[in-house]
Every structure is written in C-alpha cells, then in structure tokens.
C-alpha cells in the first residue's frame, strides 16, 4: 500500500514540477513564435498593419492582439500562411489596411527635382536611400522594399513608385 502511495505522490510531484517549469518559460516560447511569424512576413516594414514594422506586428499576432489580414504587401498568400501557422480561419487581406499591390514596386527619386532635404532618408526603414543634406538623393533599387514611407515626407513630391526590375 505504502509503496504504491509513494509512487503516485512522486509521479504527481514530478508532473507538477515539469508543468511549473514549462509555465515559467512562456517568454522563450513566445519569442520562438514571434520569430516564426516574422519569417512569414514580407519585411516591407511599411507599417500599414498599424504597427511600426513587421516584427512588432508579429509580436502582436503572437499575443493575439492583431488579426492575420493586416498585411497588404504580403497579400493573400501571407494571410493564408499566417492562418496555417496560427491555426486561425483563413481570410483575405482587409482593404482597410491598404490595397494589395499588383506587382512589386520600388521608389524612384527624380534627381533633377530633389532639393536634398534628407526627409526621405530619415523615413526609410531599411536605409535604402543614399544622399546628404543639400546633395541629391537616390534610392538603392535592390534594397528598396517598396514601403512608400518616403513619399509623404518629400516637400517637393519628387518620389514616385516604379515597377521593380526583375
């Protein structure tokens, strides 16, 4: 009787300890989930999802504070991949967050009109614009993610989006 009792108590204690240890590491689990979500996002860093970048959006998704349909650059493919990963119902991108671009585009600066104000350089989330104060700026097309964040700050409206070269 006694050995059986001790075994049961011991097993229960071990299981409880394991559960307690597992519960103490939610941060590591959440970190891993954020990484997995971040890997599915297009890294445009455009902020159209209302968060300040792809990783903050991934963190919000992991916490359950955001929906999977908030990434227009990723399009329906990204929404579907997120739904699969997070076990949620698939749904198309919500047009309130922006239109899904028909083809990838990159920013282009009309260099004859650029006044060298560096406002676009400050806005670029991936440091893809080179230039200096009162010198002409230009976009490194290969590094541009097409986030369009440089367009509103430009005081002379010399930045346009052009289709990306394959």
């Amino acid at each position: 009787m006694l050995p059986a009792l001790l075994t049961m108590v011991g097993l229960a204690a071990a299981a409880g300890l394991a559960a307690a240890l597992a519960a103490r590491r939610p941060a590591a689990d959440e970190q891993r989930l954020v990484d997995e979500i971040d890997a599915l996002l297009p890294q445009t860093q455009c902020g159209r999802c209302t968060f300040s970048g792809c990783r903050p959006y991934a963190a919000a998704l992991a916490r359950g504070e955001a929906d999977i349909n908030q990434c227009p650059p990723g399009g329906d493919a990204t929404a579907a991949a997120l739904a699969r990963l997070l076990g949620r119902e698939p749904q198309p991108v919500d047009p309130r967050f922006g239109l899904v671009p028909a083809q990838p585009a990159v920013a282009w600066i009309d260099e004859s009109a650029c006044i060298g104000c560096v406002k676009c350089i400050q806005a670029c989330p991936v440091d893809a614009i080179v230039g200096a104060s009162r010198f002409m700026h230009t976009v490194i097309a290969a590094q541009c993610t097409g986030c369009e964040l440089c367009i509103p700050p430009c005081p002379v409206d010399c930045i346009v989006m052009r289709p990306a070269q394959a």
Partner: protein, 484 residues
C-alpha cells in the same frame, strides 16, 4: 586505370561514330556573320564599334557589360554592316541585339599584343589576360571563364578538373578536339593551373573514347608535367555533368547551394582549356569553335571548326544540305538540346552540336499517361532526386514541397523522361516550375536582407537616442551643480 561511374544515369546509344569518321576541317567562309551580344552568361557585352566601321580578324567588337560578362571579337576582317536585333538560337529564335559583320574575304589579322610567357605573369594578371580573350565555358553553360577563375582562386588547395566526358548522345566536338588538339588542351591545363595557383589537374574522359585517350596520353608524355593526369569514367549519361563528374572523380559532393570551389575543385571543359591555350600562346581570341553537325537529316555528318556568327543554314549547306528525311533542327544533344524553329540563326559560343534529326533520330513519344509510381525515374536520376514526387508537387504547384524535395538541384538531364513508362514529360514540368520557385527563394533572400537592415537601423536609432539622453542628463547635472 580504374574506371569510376556516375550514380544513376543511363547507358545510351551514343551515335557519335557517324560524326567522327571524317577529320576535322574548317567551315567554308560565309559573307555575313551575326554575333549576339548576350551569347554568354551574365551581362550582355557593350559594342565598341559602330555601323560602317572596318574591323580586322581578332579585333574586339564588344567589351564586358558588367562584372560577369565577356569580350566579343571579330571572327573575320570586314565591315560592321549593322548592330540590330537578330534571331538568336539561345533564345530559341527570339531576337537578341547582335553585331553583323560582312566578310571581305581578305582575312587580315588584328595586331594583338605579342604574347609573353604565362609563367612570368602573376596569377591575377593571367586571369585578366584570359578575360580579354573573350573566353567562356564551352561545355554549354558559356559562363565567363575569367569570372569563374577569379571566384575559384579564392579557395584553398584547389584541384583543376578538365571535363572531357562528353556524355550526351550525338555530340562529338570535344572527342574530336581531344583527338586532334590534345596539345592545346595540355597547354591550356598548364595555363589554368598557373592562373588558379592549383596543384593538380585531372582530365576526365569517357572509357569509350579510345583515340582521344591515346592522343591525350601522347601529349601528356610530351609535356612532362606530372601535375596533370588522365582519368577514365564509365560512359554513362550524364557522367559529364559537372557535379556528377566531381563526385565520380574526387568522391566529394558539391553542396546543393554551393559551387565546385566549395569542395576545392575548379571544373572547366576541355574546349575551354584549348581556347585558353590558343589565346595565351597564339593570341587567337575565341572567335571559332568546333561544332558537330549530325543527324539523319543532313548528308555529311562531321565536325567542323566554325567561325562564330556563321548561320546554321550555311553550316548545313557546307555539309551537303538536308536530306529528304529531315524533321527537326536541334541545337545541343539529343537529351538536353533545344528544338529551333528555323536555321537562319548564328553559331554562338554555346553551339556544340547541331542535329538535323529525322524520324529515326527522334524517340517516338506517345500520349502522356498517369504516373503509376514505378520509381524508375528515381533510380535513373543522377542528382538523387525523386522525380515522381516532384511531378506530384509540380501538378499541385506546391512550392514549399518542391523546395524541400530539391527541385532546384534538378540538372534537367532528361533521364527520368527517358525511362518513364507513362511518357510523362517530367523535365518540361520541372523547367516550368523552376522560375516560380526561384522567384520565391529570391523574395525570401530579399526579405532577410530587409530584416537585417531594419534591425540595424532600429538598433542605431535606439543607440543614438540613449546617447543623446545620457549627454542631456549629464549636462543637467552639471548645470544643477553650478547653480547650487
């Protein structure tokens, strides 16, 4: 000498004897030569001449248009009659910007700088010299040789592999080259060894090329260079595939996302080595190559040394013209060659073989039937893939599964097609799916780069902000001390 063999593959009827009966001869001169500017891998060349210019044989017509690009020289003396888009065989008849030279028949040679001994040059210098010869890989990939040498030279304890295993049926231009120009190949091997600072060289040939082996052995014993050895591999298609040959010869596998240089090997075609020899020793840039003209649809099946830019039609005419049984014109071998819509296209640096195929040459293909999961294709696959699974996922357009099953490692050799009892055009399916998967992989690489840049920027902004607030706090403290 032990013979090694490739994994998988097929023993095919080589159909080579018919084109190796006759000795090599130069092709008859033509009046107009068309030289596409993008006939090599990498960036198209940029013209250095304009319409109406008089050019001499061996004069540079176009210079490299990027880091990976090649020079283009005039094969004849004459005048530039046009620089315009012309149908190009590497684009299957779609136009490519080309320089058209009209031949004046005088064959005046451009005064090239007199060659100096290559042993006196530093390896970097020698690589630059090879670059100016317009030399590209003549095995079919037409990758600029200098760019390959530059990237491979960074590897340590490098071995040179000269690929003379011409495994694809019908093609015999390398066989003919090894028979008749073995000295050029050995000289080229010595130049390449110096350019790569490599220690040893293996020339790999198939065990059924007896004459080529004999003449290479004679050239080797004449050269007295113990760094260069001859190795025979079993004559199985595709023994001469680059990755397959490296595994067969050295017993190492090239990583699927890597280059031969990653395992300390630089692999070049024997034709490339001969072209290097002709440029470094004789100052003859790459303006002509050996082309096999074969198939039941042409009267005289043989190998010719052809100036680049000669039209395929003129080449066929040079070989006695088409027979009545001619059915399809193919550039390349019978397994990987591409059918061309017409013959008004030039010979380019990549043209190793032209098959005028009749019904006898073409493997009859019945209608496609469903896959019966027999697994013959995975036994034949030399890249150790599972074509039956790839077929499955290609039908479903499942890019993630295609990636994990190694679609990008498919060398499109056609062995799976050949053995498939259901006559499924497997390689065609795989070729269709590759661009989509490549685009997805490129997007992922771009996303990773964007993430790294975003993280770097975020980190920088945070650091600047914390430094600024630290300075601010210190100044406040100093101010408070002063006023108290």
């Amino acid at each position: 000498m032990a013979t090694s063999r490739v994994r998988g593959g097929l023993r095919l009827n080589a159909h080579k004897e018919r084109s190796t009966e006759h000795a090599l001869r130069p092709a008859t001169a033509v009046e107009s030569l068309v030289l596409p500017l993008d006939q090599h891998a990498g960036a198209p060349a940029v013209p250095l001449v304009k319409r109406g210019d008089r050019v001499l044989r061996g004069q540079p017509l176009a210079g490299p248009g990027g880091a990976i690009s090649a020079w283009l020289h005039s094969p004849v003396s004459g005048t530039i009659s046009a620089i315009e888009p012309r149908p190009a065989p590497h684009r299957l008849g779609a136009p490519a910007l080309s320089i058209v030279v009209s031949n004046d028949g005088r064959d005046e040679r451009h005064a090239a700088p007199s060659p100096t001994g290559f042993e006196q040059m530093a390896p970097e210098q020698l690589r630059d010299a090879i670059d100016r010869g317009g030399i590209v890989g003549l095995g079919g990939a037409v990758f600029p040789t200098a760019a390959k040498l530059r990237s491979a030279a960074a590897a340590t304890s490098l071995r040179l592999l000269l690929n003379g295993a011409e495994c694809e049926p019908y093609i015999s231009c390398d066989d003919m080259l090894m028979r008749e120009r073995a000295r050029d190949i050995v000289f080229g091997a010595r130049v390449l060894l110096h350019a790569l600072a490599a220690q040893s060289c293996v020339i790999a040939i198939e065990d059924d090329t007896v004459q080529a082996a004999a003449s290479l052995e004679a050239a080797l014993s004449e050269a007295h260079d113990e760094r260069i050895r001859l190795r025979r591999v079993a004559s199985i298609y595709p023994a001469g595939g680059e990755k397959q040959l490296i595994t067969t010869i050295f017993g190492v596998e090239v990583p699927h996302d890597g280059l031969p240089a990653n395992v300390g090997v630089a692999c070049l075609n024997v034709g490339t080595a001969a072209a290097v020899a002709q440029w470094i020793r004789d100052a003859q840039p790459l303006t002509r190559r050996i082309v096999t003209v074969t198939g039941d649809g042409v009267r005289e099946q043989r190998n010719l040394e052809v100036p680049l830019g000669t039209s395929l039609g003129a080449l066929i005419y040079d070989c006695g013209g088409y027979t009545g049984r001619m059915a399809r014109l193919i550039m390349g071998g019978s397994m990987m060659g591409q059918a061309l819509p017409h013959d008004d296209m030039p010979v380019i640096k990549a043209t190793n073989c032209v098959i005028a195929a009749s019904a006898v040459d073409l493997q009859p293909r019945g209608p496609e039937m469903p896959c019966i999961r027999c697994g013959n294709c995975s036994v034949a696959c030399p890249a150790m893939l599972l074509p039956q699974q790839l077929h499955w996922y290609a039908q479903a357009r499942d890019l993630a599964a295609l990636e994990t099953h190694g679609l990008m490692d498919c060398i499109e050799c056609g062995c799976c097609d050949y053995v498939c009892p259901s006559q499924i055009p497997l390689v065609e399916r795989f070729r269709d799916m590759k661009p989509a998967l490549a685009a997805q992989l490129a997007a992922r690489t771009a996303a990773d780069a964007a993430r790294a840049r975003f993280d770097a920027r975020t980190g920088r902004l945070e650091r600047i902000e914390s430094e600024r607030s630290a300075v601010l706090a210190r100044k406040r403290q100093e101010l408070a001390k002063k006023s108290s």
